[in-house]
Symmetry: D2
């Protein structure tokens, strides 16, 4: 994990539906919460949420560490930031935190693509500038 | 991915609920299907499904690659095998395949622990023998 | 609930993901399992699964009774049948059963509509014949 | 639906995970959002969220009408109120609204029970007073 600031950081309270028999958040619940951040971040960067007919992030690889279990009713913080990017892809870092400690961290590689054509889309000039301004590293 | 045989290999048809706006299986849907295999494999190995008051696998780390999208009604195969194990943890490999090609592969590290005591549990003799017999590597 | 035979009846084992902190299937898990039956039944009746550009069932009203809780690893049976139909809608009955007893029953009203045009579609002649042959009542 | 004020009314933005191939919220997504309200309402009424070892609401029957589809990114309002109660049960009314119009309404019967003993629990005096003060009708 890099040390740059979070692009989005917001609170969440662990929901009933997110928990399993152990009263822990299921391992996929963290990823769905991170998905919300990814969509919000993309909308913030590009002015539009992901859609079928425009360049949108597609998850290609995820690497997730579950450090301490989040439990029902936990008040946690969720963060996302873009660590780096290349011609048609970027790397996001995510964390779920509680009282300053990481419960879960993730590194997710996304490809920018259009669903209607199936083609990868190079990161365009304005998007590149915004990512650099947020602290992302090119290359 | 190692080349050993799958411990469990079974068919699945992609469900409506697993798909998102793109008609693709959501990235978490693959993980929930793998979770089913993990539970079934654990029951096959130990004679009991995971439970609160007995040693059970807890997901500590996942590394997943999404190679080609699974879409609604796809007939796929799902496989799991234990690649290796150490004193209190093991590494599972998973795949979703279609017509012989990988759509998604995952490497998941689980710790064996009891939820009621919160303690890690060393892999016991009989479990060790079964894992070795399945082709898992120790260490 | 009517007494006609089930059009589809099949086994299911309650999954980890379907259960909540009480180790019971969440009340929505029953509905998602019924959704699978609805889609399969529609494909059986019409030769194609629901889709954006063809007449497909849309849920308009549900009435569900939870009689006894299904728990993790329960082996249950799931059934669906069409009880009745009108010009552009039909009523499905569903049940989850265990050892001959109902755990959950549902009555679901669906409208037949196309998503691409937003229009309701009258039940056509061949579909009407098939529904009557399955025991559904017209009107 | 009765005309009393909502006990809880709050905004929600339809999430990616809540939507299916039609870009509509899946019919179960509404129910999970209503579940959050039910839990929050119970905590507001009794001072504690539902739990295994204390009286908690258990869903016995749901009657839901889907009037207009909620779609991805819709800004909606969610409301819950207790319409009536009897010795060991109560009836909740829920709605998802957009721009003042109902998208979905539900009437849900809950039994008050303890999971650890399996017993129904009569609504106690203080809870009864609170429900009456919120506008719920007894009987």
């Amino acid at each position: 994990m890099t040390g740059q600031p979070w692009s989005i950081l917001r609170p969440h309270r662990i929901r009933w539906i997110e928990c399993d028999l152990y009263a822990h958040a299921n391992h996929t619940a963290y990823l769905t919460l991170f998905e919300d951040l990814r969509i919000e971040h993309w909308e913030k960067l590009t002015g539009a949420p992901p859609g079928y007919d425009r360049p949108s992030p597609v998850v290609a690889q995820i690497d997730v560490r579950y450090l301490r279990a989040a439990v029902f009713r936990d008040e946690v913080m969720l963060g996302v930031r873009c660590a780096s990017f290349r011609r048609t892809s970027f790397v996001h870092e995510y964390a779920m935190m509680k009282e300053g400690q990481d419960l879960c961290t993730a590194r997710i590689v996304c490809v920018v693509a259009r669903q209607d054509t199936g083609e990868k889309v190079p990161i365009w000039g304005e998007l590149r500038e915004t990512l650099l301004a947020e602290g992302a590293i090119e290359g």
